[in-house]
Every structure is written in C-alpha cells, then in structure tokens.
Symmetry: C2
Subunit: 320 residues, 2 copies
C-alpha cells in the first residue's frame, strides 16, 4: 500500500521541486512570508460540494489569503488507516491535485504514515502552506477602528450543513452544497487594488458568530453590531437550520471570508467582490460600534436585539 | 478540552509571532528556504530517550538540516483523541517546548483537532518547518561521484529498538535509549566550515540500509560498498538485534545522519564531527564505487560480501 500511495502522489502532484525527493523542499524566496498549518479530519470524507482533499487545499490556501499572502507552496502529510480502499485514496488525491492546479499552488514536500486498523478513522490530512505577502500589505486586527464595516463575501453555513446532512444521512428533500472554495482568486486582486481592507478571517469552525466574537475579544475597546436582515443565507440553509434547530451563525463555512473594511472604502470593496462568482452574494453585515464593548449584538428582523455569544461547545465536531 | 489545550500550547510555546493569533504566521524573510513536513504516530508515546513530542521537533528539524538549512520556524498540528489524559498531553507539550528551546526553533502557527474516541490512537502530531539555507550551499544527490566516502555521524538502530522494547515490553535485561536528537548544532557549523559534504540524509524509517539504497537507486551509475566492521553499533544494540533476529541496518534512527563526503575532505569532516557529543561515534562506513551499479554491498566481518537490499516490507510500523 505504501508504495502505491507514493506512486499515486508523485504521479498526481508532480512538479520539479517535489521531484527532487529530498527530506525537505528547496525554495527560492526573497519576500515576506505567511506560514500556516491545518489538519483535516472531516467525517464523512465526501459530501455535497467537496471532499477532504479539496478541503485540505482550500482550507490552507484560505488561511494564507487571510494574511494577504499569495499562496504558493503546500506540504501534504497523510495519515492513512491500513486497509483503506485504494479507490477512495485515489479519488482524494485526484481532488487534491485538481484543487491545487485550479488554485495555482504547488505541493513541494510530503509525508505518509500508515497506521493499523482502528488506530485512525480512514484518513487524516495535514496541509501546511507558505505564501508571499503582497508588497507593503499588513492586515492586522489592530488596524480596526470605530465605524469600520463588516462584509461577508458569500452565503453562510453552507459547508457545515452539507457535511451534517451527509453524515446523518438526512433526507431534507433538497441538497445543500458546501461552499468549499479557495479565495485567492477573489481576494488577492481586490487587496492589490485597495487599502480599505484592514483585516480578514474565514469563519470556519464555530461560524460567523465565533469569528466576530474573536475580533471583539481581541480589541475590547469596541463592539460589533450586525444586521440580521443583511446576512446572506440561502432559502435551503434557512429551512434546514429551522428544521434542525441550529443557528446558522454558528455553522462552519469554507468558502467565504469576513472582511473588516474602512467605511469610506466599503462600496468599492463590495462592488469588486460582487463582480466575482465567489463574491456574488457579498453583503455588508455589520459595523464596528462604540458599544457594547467586547460584544457582538444582532439587530434581528423582528426589531429586537440579541447578544451573539461565543460558542462554548462545538455542535458539529469533525466538520473540517 | 479544546480550550485547555489551546491555553496549554500558548503558555508553553509562546513567542511574538504565535501571539498574533492569525490564521497563518507572518514571517520576514529574504533568503533561500527549505520547507518540510512530517507526521508522528509513534506507539508508544513515551520510550527510553524520548517521546512523540521530542520526536516531532527533532524529526522536522533534521529534515531541514539535511538540506543544509538552519531550522527556524515550525508549525504544530495536533490530532487528539477525545478523553486523552490531560497530564499526558501536558507532558508531550512540555517535551515539545523543551526541544524547541534547545534547538532554537519557534512554533509560529498551529492547529488542534479533537476526534471522538477510537477515531485516532491517543495523539498524532504533524510538524512542518521552514529553514534558511546556508549561503551558497546546495547539497544534492547529483553531486555524488566515484570515490566519495560515506560517513555516519552516530551509533545506529538505537531509536527503533528503544521503541520496540517499550512497545513489546521486552525484558532485555538492559536499557536501549533512542538516539532522538536535533542535528543542527552538530552539522550546521561543519557545513559552514567545509564544502566537502555533498549530500546528507537521516536514516529514519528503514534504517541505514534503506537510505543507502535510495542513494544508489537515484544515480544508478555507481554502487556503494560498506564495511561492516566500521559500522558504529553499541554492544546492547548488537545483543538485542541478535536476540530478536533483526538486522540493525534496517532499524530506524532519529539522531544520526549519513553524509556523502568528498574523499579529500573526509578526515576534516570526521575530526569536526567527533569533537561534538552527537558526533563522537562518527565513522567512515563506506565508499561510492564503480561496481555494483545501483546496489549496496557489505563487506562482512567474516570476509564475505552480501547485498544489502531495499526493505520491501516495514518490520516496525509506527516507529516515528
């Protein structure tokens, strides 16, 4: 199996650096870098709109993009349960290969460990990534100030519900597709065109609510007020959330980002986002406000206000 | 558990870059880089001379060093089985922290996934690493030529046998300690002092025999002849190997390296190695020879010759 995997990986992910077959990849660089790592343990491995392989590329690419870095080099480390069907493995590596090509990143180093049956659940994937930060760009949570606008680049809760539906074999009567996508093609050109974007984060585990809370918690001088009516949610996600009694604000996303944008640049950023298929549903969802400090408040469609808390326990483990 | 782990990691591995808490680390760089990744699934987690944490630092550091790169930044990704004793986790993170400090590397980005019981075996660790390649240094298997000497920097088979002894609870009547160690302190200064070293690789999985076979396989114009009598092996390892019927040439090492050195520079390299505690037992073990092409031959102590084959099946899974 081990050799089969190696052959498979080299065939599908081939590039000159990987071909060197060294213990580590040799990269020529003269820039500021971003460096990130993520393990993927999603269950099930395949779901509507994606699979663990696509996720492992997009997730790490997006973490780099959030730092205003052009993703370039990725590592791939597989932990495989002995006896995993070779066809499943091939399908996953195909998916990794396609996502990498589409995204313009190169896998330059890798590792495979095979563990005995029941020592792991089918396959776990770690991808680490290096990206070149756009010249003179330095996004930081510290740049955020009063009056900044919060933009979300796409419809929320698609990924988490797609995984949940597949895992529980829910018959919702309709299909919810994960938003799993690499955001470099959407966001890097916009970052180059404008300095209005101050901070970005992709609301993965814990969803939009958790990401917004992380932002207000780290600079307790301000709060965030969001407008429920502006939150982009598909009818299917709204229906499924109601059926399942889940708040979509807490559901993981894998193909959208939260941007904190200088008020005066909001329109330009929104226009640029909406021109791209991945940003078509972008919306201004909130404002950085003086009060309540360190909290996220939602103005509901009913005209009331509610506190959007940090998630204390994870409702959906192994979502990514 | 999740929060506990996060607190634990931040406390033990703290540094200014990690503190930024971004999706990916921001690194200022103006150099040629090496980039590597490795997952660690060793069973048992603790063994004589080391543990999975120390291994996860040393293994990735050594992969960078093998590229003549000064290891600088590491990522840490943990996959933790739900219910793992917190004290075990703390002990592992302590070990990671101590190894990182000792080695002079910084963990700048990380990830934690918790999976349900029986979906993973206690804990798996992935470390990826970035190193700055020594100026004008470019080690490559392509540099190797006829007459080059093969040096090993330390005694062989210590790691694999230490793990095996602990896993099987063997009562050997004596203790074999893993050689698990970071090799940057030994090798980086020597690489800076001499250009005689053409290629390096650490003989981990599959041991010395596998590494030597990988070398001859990739440049089939030459073979390698090793001298069994020069192979540095402790009496304990020799005794244990005989008892267990295992060939120490195939046993994993985690704290020694194989160097291919220009004949004229061999004495200097050997002298430099032996001045360092980790290189004290360094030996010239072989020569790059015209025949047999693409093969590794051992001149045994009995005066005979034997072919040292590539390992076809792994005798000791989950050794690292």
């Amino acid at each position: 199996m081990h050799n089969l995997i190696k052959d498979l990986l080299f065939k599908k992910l081939n590039n000159p650096i990987l071909k060197e077959l060294s213990d580590s990849a040799f990269i020529n660089y003269r820039e500021r870098l971003a460096f990130t790592t993520d393990s993927f343990v999603v269950n099930p491995l395949f779901f509507s709109g994606g699979d663990i392989g696509k996720l492992a590329v997009c997730g790490t690419v997006n973490d780099l993009v959030m730092q205003a870095a052009v993703p370039e080099f990725l590592s791939l480390a597989l932990i495989v349960e002995e006896g995993l069907d070779y066809k499943i493995l091939e399908k996953i590596v195909d998916s990794i290969s396609i996502a990498a090509r589409k995204t313009g990143v190169y896998f330059v180093t890798g590792d495979i460990k095979v563990v005995e049956q029941a020592a792991a659940d089918k396959i776990f994937i770690n991808t680490s990534g290096i990206g070149r930060i756009i010249k003179d760009k330095r996004l930081s949570i510290k740049n955020i100030c009063l009056g900044d606008k919060i933009i979300i680049t796409g419809r929320i809760a698609q990924h988490g519900l797609a995984v949940l539906a597949k895992r529980k074999e829910l018959d919702l009567g309709f299909n919810i597709k994960s938003d799993c996508a690499a955001l470099n093609d959407l966001l890097i050109p916009i970052l180059k065109k404008t300095d209005a974007i101050k901070f970005m984060r992709d609301p993965t585990r814990g969803g939009v609510a958790t990401t917004l809370n992380e932002i207000v918690e780290s600079f307790k001088a301000f709060g965030i007020i969001i407008e429920e009516k502006n939150m982009p949610i598909s009818l299917k996600v709204r229906a499924a959330s109601e059926l399942l009694g889940i708040d979509p604000l807490y559901i993981a996303n894998e193909g959208c980002a939260i941007l904190v944008v200088k008020n005066s640049g909001t329109k330009k950023v929104l226009d640029l986002l909406r021109k791209h298929p991945l940003g078509h549903n972008a919306q201004i969802i909130g404002t950085v406000a003086k009060e309540p400090k360190g909290k996220v408040i939602s103005n509901t469609v009913l005209g009331t206000q509610r506190i959007v808390d940090m998630l204390t326990s994870e409702p959906l483990p192994r979502i990514c």
